[in-house]
């Protein structure tokens, strides 16, 4: 087995620092909620669908309350109050709000206790539904076990969910274990979640509940046929993180891309907004038994991968602790890593192995999501296939868990049918041909791999030292991650962050905290 000699104390030190960094953020942001969280609570109440002009009802409710100056209390109290008073369902209340027939702040007050009780009752239905979906998955996994590792993960990105379905099933039948439906370019900056099936997106389909449902259904059929449960992934990033987390939970997605800092760095979303939203969305992921995928691979596409090791590792530590604090156990924290060192560098493959091993070993119980080379691929699809083969080799050799299958046409277009097939079959070959290869080897003392890994760990420790000294906000302001600088007060969606009032109440959060941290209490 390839095992590094890692300095356990250094790792411990990194964990401590990252934990304190995330605690400090959580503490500072504890008093805040966001429009996205409140819309999520509305969804937990069962509010769905769109009003005229396609505005989703959760947005209608939250905007309405905001315009009345009462959003600071959270939507839950006011919705429950209205339900009690009118004796109607939240959906009916929401529809009436949309028609201007009800004004939430005008509804006669039914008392905090009654409202809270009603609220717990109403969101309880959704929570039960999520538990139900989780059990469903467990049963399916029992009867349709997935035996081979790493899981082969491919994307569909036609922009038409029905076309995606054909392609996803085909990919599954070719050997894919995980299907990710790529999201339309730009959805992360929409401050609402579109509704219904998508037939014309670009760079992908919208993350809508209907799309989730359609694809999950199709994959369930295919899983049955193949005798192997095919997992479904979508994105839980952007301005609607928590709402999408909810949708994924009730439609039995199995994995979601959810990173504590991705929106800040790569979509210029406001820091506070993202950091508040990530916590709540991850609690939902945790409750639903959904594996999250963090986005450190993106650093490696933005800055020079050869030098980005410490920033990637530091970010993984931080992302990990944010996730833990949102109630995710290790087995659900799919940290992102990627094979992106310039292939012209001498010994690049050796460096890739070093970093892949390091991440793998430090987060031994986390299912690392290992991403393929992309940046250094060109239109030479043949050489791209060579690079992917090396990536496949490193993945199997270092025992990765989730293997995003690289595409030979990465530099050209989102995958054609044939690209996906060729890439899956290459990855499958490696998984079989090198299945027990790693068991044959161990590492020489002080070899290049060992030295490289130690160096990266050392530099990570230093970097985390700086971050914990400055705090995460300042570190990001100074461009610590992916070379991107963002201002705490800048970025999109900042207007959606608000300080909770003294009356603030969020039954979903209360219940999730209770359930997720039961043992800690």
């Amino acid at each position: 087995m390839l095992r590094l000699e890692i300095d356990g104390e250094k790792v411990e030190k990194c964990h401590e620092m990252a934990s304190s960094v995330s605690s400090r953020v959580n503490q500072e942001l504890g008093p805040f909620s966001t429009v996205a969280i409140e819309r999520t609570v509305a969804r937990f109440f069962g509010i769905d669908g769109v009003a005229k002009d396609d505005v989703p009802l959760p947005n209608v409710v939250v905007e309405h309350l905001k315009s009345q100056g009462r959003l600071e209390d959270g939507v839950a109290l006011h919705l429950a109050n209205a339900c009690l008073y009118y004796g109607e369902s939240p959906q009916e209340i929401a529809e009436k709000i949309a028609l201007g027939k009800i004004s939430l702040s005008q509804v006669p007050w039914q008392g905090r206790e009654a409202c809270q009780e009603k609220a717990f009752e109403l969101v309880g239905v959704s929570l039960e539904k999520i538990r139900e979906k989780r059990r469903e998955r467990e049963v399916l996994l029992e009867s349709l076990p997935v035996k081979e590792r790493p899981w082969l993960y491919v994307i569909c990105a036609t922009g038409n969910i029905y076309e995606d379905i054909i392609q996803a099933k085909m990919a599954a039948s070719q050997g894919a274990d995980v299907i990710a439906v790529i999201r339309s370019t730009g959805q992360s900056l929409l401050d609402y979640v579109p509704y219904g099936p998508t037939t014309e997106g670009y760079g992908g389909t919208y993350a809508t509940q209907e799309n989730f449902r359609l694809m999950r259904k199709a994959l369930d059929e295919e899983s049955e046929k193949l005798g192997r449960y095919v997992r479904l992934v979508n994105y839980c990033s952007g301005l609607c993180m928590p709402e999408i987390a909810f949708m994924g939970a009730v439609e039995r997605l199995d994995m979601m891309l959810n990173d504590a800092m991705y929106g800040i760095l790569f979509r210029d979303i406001n820091m506070e907004r993202t950091l508040v939203d990530q916590r709540f969305s991850r609690m939902i992921n945790a409750y639903a038994g959904i594996i999250i995928n963090t986005g450190e691979d993106n650093y490696l596409t933005t800055v020079d991968a050869f030098n980005a090791g410490p920033a990637v590792l530091a970010s993984q530590f931080i992302n990990y602790h944010f996730a833990k604090k949102a109630g995710l156990p290790d087995e659900y924290i799919g940290l992102g890593h990627a094979f992106q060192i310039d292939p012209r560098i001498e010994d690049s493959l050796t460096y890739e192995i070093a970093m892949a091993l390091l991440v793998r070993e430090i987060f031994g119980d986390c299912p690392v999501k290992y991403m393929p080379p992309t940046v250094h691929k060109s239109g030479d699809i043949f050489f791209a296939h060579v690079l992917d083969t090396c990536f496949n080799m490193v993945s199997v050799l270092t025992g990765q868990s989730i293997h995003l299958v690289g595409m030979l046409t990465e530099a050209i277009h989102t995958p054609l049918l044939q690209d996906r097939y060729l890439s899956i079959s290459a990855a499958r070959y490696m998984r079989t041909a090198a299945r027990h290869l790693a068991e044959n080897f161990f590492l020489e003392k002080d070899c290049l791999i060992q030295r490289r890994a130690s160096e990266i760990l050392d530099r990570t420790e230093k970097l985390l030292g700086e971050v914990s000294r400055k705090g995460l906000f300042q570190a990001i302001e100074e461009g610590t991650f992916a070379g991107v600088k963002r201002q705490r007060t800048g970025g999109k969606g900042r207007e959606g962050v608000f300080r909770k009032s003294q009356w603030y109440f969020n039954p979903v959060e209360d219940l999730l905290v209770k359930e997720l941290f039961r043992n800690e209490a």
Binding site: I381, H413, L417
Partner: protein, 256 residues
């Protein structure tokens, strides 16, 4: 007829390549042009794609292979569709039989084994394909003709002159001649195959044998064109050949 069954499985009567969407027509191409790398080369490459009736020709890679030679990878969209109903599909006529049925049929109807002579002819020294069909061991878990009681097999091996093959077939009064041709360079397989037919005809033996060709570049259509009874390409299983030979030999004697 198998072909029509298959034709029915094709959902549309008119089809186009499918890249990412139905009928998008996307095709990948690669080729080398005797031009230097640069804007002129790229344009020449796009022109090649236009000559191939590809719309929106995209050169996604151009790499100099040496002075004045450039390699191109491209994608384009074919808009001229294939009409399924107009395709002429040639294949030998036979139904798949299992080994037991073949052995029984031949025993009961012919009363003696079918005599088969096989060889890789001319300069061709590739025996693996021929052996796969003829020898006991077979191919992909499917036993070769030797494993059947229905066949008596003489595998002459490689680099056999056509003359020797014909002589052997006549000597053994063979029911079938099986020729393997792997090397196709400068179309040597075509002249070898044609020459065999001529020799057989000259000897007045062409009609007395079932004449079969096989190899990676052989298709049934090509074999028929060259005067053979059947052709078998890559991936052929011995049991396919056994089924075909049994039916064809019996049919000629009106026993099937």
């Amino acid at each position: 007829m198998m072909d029509d069954v298959v034709r029915e499985n094709v959902e549309a009567s008119v089809i186009l390549p499918y890249g990412d969407h139905k009928n998008d027509g996307v095709v990948q191409v690669s080729f080398t042009l005797p031009v230097p790398d640069g804007p002129l080369g790229d344009e020449a490459a796009r022109q090649v794609m236009r000559l191939m009736s590809l719309k929106e020709p995209q050169v996604v890679e151009s790499t100099p292979l040496g002075e004045n030679y450039t390699f191109f990878v491209g994608y384009g969209k074919l808009t001229r569709p294939v009409e399924i109903s107009k395709l002429k599909v040639a294949r030998p006529l036979w139904d798949k039989l299992d080994a037991a049925s073949i052995d029984r049929l031949v025993r009961e109807r012919l009363g003696r084994p079918i005599i088969v002579v096989g060889a890789a002819t001319g300069q061709d020294a590739h025996t693996v394909g021929l052996d796969a069909i003829l020898n006991y061991k077979g191919f992909s878990g499917d036993h070769g003709l030797e494993a059947y009681s229905a066949f008596r097999v003489v595998n002459m091996g490689s680099q056999i002159p056509n003359e020797s093959l014909v002589a052997k077939a006549i000597e053994l009064r063979a029911d079938a001649i099986l020729v393997s041709q792997v090397v196709t360079q400068r179309n040597v397989h075509l002249s070898n195959l044609t020459n065999l037919v001529e020799l057989l005809e000259a000897e007045g033996w062409r009609d007395k044998v079932v004449l079969v060709a096989g190899g990676p570049r052989i298709t049934h259509a090509l074999a028929v064109e060259l005067g053979y009874d059947a052709g078998f390409g890559p991936g052929t299983r011995p049991s396919d050949v056994a089924s075909y030979l049994t039916q064809e030999v019996l049919r000629r004697k009106s026993l099937y």
